[in-house]
Symmetry: C3
Subunit: 311 residues, 3 copies
């Protein structure tokens, strides 16, 4: 999330009422979660295990729950509860708002695009030229569609990330302030969900086609010309490179990478990276030929055990 | 389902035109399916295999297709088709009705709650304070939401149970007369379905969070502070205790119990109870460490078979 | 797809501006994809591997990218790009059109049927008597429902087939011109998708019942009195005979056949035909008793490997 302007460290510290380390004039221009940070951003960290990752990331301001040594050229915001104060900043710069008109007044739709009945377009949604948005599609605030995009009925673009911090007595929600960006020539089936980024963008690359009931988690990056069959479920913060094919009911864990042109066969469950060009299968998924040999070997196993036992 | 008042055995027998055993003045206050019965309820049974279960249940009136010995303090309604007559009673006390306004006149919404465009709220729906119901959500008749509940777009709360009796020439539908109860601080993703109870309540405990595309079957009880990832499918009449985590694409069979704090890893298919605190994996699911050993062993099997064959 | 009238070969050749082989007066009455062709139809083929299949099919006109020998009584349309010209013919006979009213003026609804709020009915949709279409259901153009059909909320009937031809730089969409036919006494849960046929009909047989989140692909034929539990995903061009049961989260590959009364246990992934009456399990699925023996044998494998290694 970009801030509406460049802010000074001292001013941000006032908003969340916390101490800071570094120049009071240190500049802050954004707010991001660790996977998406850039120079100018605040990142938050509240567990010593991840201190180094945050301090060494591209973020130049670290919202942290301990006064540690500040890296050169960076600044610290020292808070007793960085998660709470991160959410506080998100809400400060992006106040809650629910557009109660079916098509928000701030939504922009290309002249040649067709918006069918029952569609909801939230605030600041933009839709390019020559798109078709079928009945009862919902697009949450701040999502952007390119040209020649088709969205089939009842699909939901931009719902909140599924991202909670476990507190003693409740789950504390990470407020999503990111967006969904859908590039040109994408077609999305009926009943899909593409969640917004927590602080960055969830992206669907140009020419990609999704079948029905596909789930794409927050901050996931889908490349160009990918294909996903029905009931595929991709978690958050996944990187899917160009030309990847996911067959029906495939599941992909968060924070893995699928190399260019890789393929996951139906019902596979991926828990690790796939190299470019490889085909994986199984749950947990592995290289497909090896897995098929396992399937074949398993068929022989009952007879084998019988023989060994009879010896 | 509670009856609108206390009825006498003889009056119920008139409605379904059947004989009875027991005091004509015997009191009936409700109507429930075997999993949910309480004192005062009618339960139905039409197969000798289940006679004892029904006769010994907490139900005090048994709608049955054979004149058996009546337990002390109970009563029998003797029908040639208990399933048909059970449905007849349901329809008598809950006549078919479809509210054709998007927001029924009998729906009650807390003052601080936000109902977005395209939402349907059926008859007698109640929504607490500080809720957000996103666009195009549908809530069927008689469902109740607590405070601080968020429901994302296109989710359907309270559709009918998937429950049919096979007749020679058709499937005979069990009419659902139950409800969905969603407690405080629950968040439900986009595109979820939570079916109403057949005669009791489907319940989502306070603080529980569901990702997108989650299915919860009829009469299932979900505890407090549970997490369910995308595409989880839980069948009917399941008991999920507090603090349970179901990862993506997990399936749970009907009529099993998941102990407090148990975990099902992604894509697992559960066909039995899980004890409290245990982690299960696989399809069919078993204790996770054992299953991971099986996965590792299976990887070695093709080579092992090759060696044995070459001997 | 039936053409609005009988056309002559020479007239069709003019529409797509191509050469032809055969009598200029040769009659064409329809347009179909290879799985659904009948006499009078055009079929297209653009790969030598499938030439024979197309030439020997029931289609009497073959749109082909090579001037081959024409079978007796048939005709050829010789195009440099049969896929493109097939789409061109589809669009010629079924021009793009989007009905922008929630209930199209050409939709016909039986007098005793109930259409609830937020429903979209496209052009030429017909709904029989005594149906209930729950809130926010979407039915695309040209779909037909029989009598006593119930469709639960947010289900989408008739979205486009997921069918693309890979070009060098993009996926070229096969334009769907088929329909969905739902026979009498069918009940479809919430959040289901039933895609239209590419050129023929997707069909749900009478008395069949679908739970929530079920996907039925294009041109798939579902028989009478089938049951499908939640999150079942059936690909395109599948034949499911009468009385088939698919349990939760089952996946079925395209172009396979499920024999009468066959059963797929939960989470199975079917990649081949099932004979009538058989029960299959697993991913990939096989005969259930064999698969259960494999599951049991696999449990013993870690111990077995330990023993062998220790020898």
């Amino acid at each position: 999330m970009k801030l509406p302007a460049a802010y000074k460290l001292k001013d941000i510290a006032v908003i969340i009422n916390c101490e800071f380390e570094g120049s009071p004039e240190h500049i802050i221009t954004g707010l991001n979660e660790i996977h998406m940070v850039e120079a100018g951003d605040i990142v938050f960290v509240d567990h010593p295990k991840y201190y180094d990752k945050a301090l060494l990331s591209k973020a130049t301001t670290i919202l942290i729950n301990k006064k540690v040594e500040c890296p050169i050229g960076k600044a610290l915001l020292v808070s007793d509860d960085p998660f709470r104060d991160y959410n506080k900043l998100v809400r400060h710069f992006q106040p809650v708002s629910y557009s109660l008109k079916p098509i928000s007044e701030t939504a922009k739709v290309g002249k040649t695009s067709i918006i069918m009945p029952g569609v909801y377009l939230g605030s600041n949604v933009t839709i390019g030229e020559n798109c078709v948005i079928h009945p009862n599609v919902v697009i949450y605030d701040n999502c952007h569609l390119g040209n020649n995009v088709v969205i089939h009925s009842n699909t939901v673009i931009g719902a909140d990330a599924f991202y909670y911090k476990k507190r003693a007595e409740y789950f504390d929600k990470m407020i999503s302030c990111g967006r969904v960006i859908i590039e040109d020539d994408v077609e999305i089936g009926a009943m899909c969900t593409i969640d917004k980024g927590v602080s960055g963008d969830t992206k669907i690359g140009s020419g990609t086609k999704l079948d029905n009931h596909v789930q794409i988690g927050h901050d996931t990056q889908v490349g160009k010309m990918c294909l996903m069959a029905s009931h595929v479920a991709v978690a958050g913060v996944v990187v899917i490179e160009d030309g990847v094919t996911l067959w029906g009911q495939v599941g992909v864990r968060s924070d893995v990478k699928l190399g260019k042109g890789s393929v996951l066969l139906a019902q596979s469950g991926l828990g690790e990276d796939i190299p470019a060009g490889k085909t994986f299968f199984g749950s947990p998924a592995g290289e497909a030929r090896s897995k098929m040999k396992e399937v074949a070997a398993l068929k022989m196993l009952p007879e084998l055990i019988k023989k060994i036992t009879e010896k």
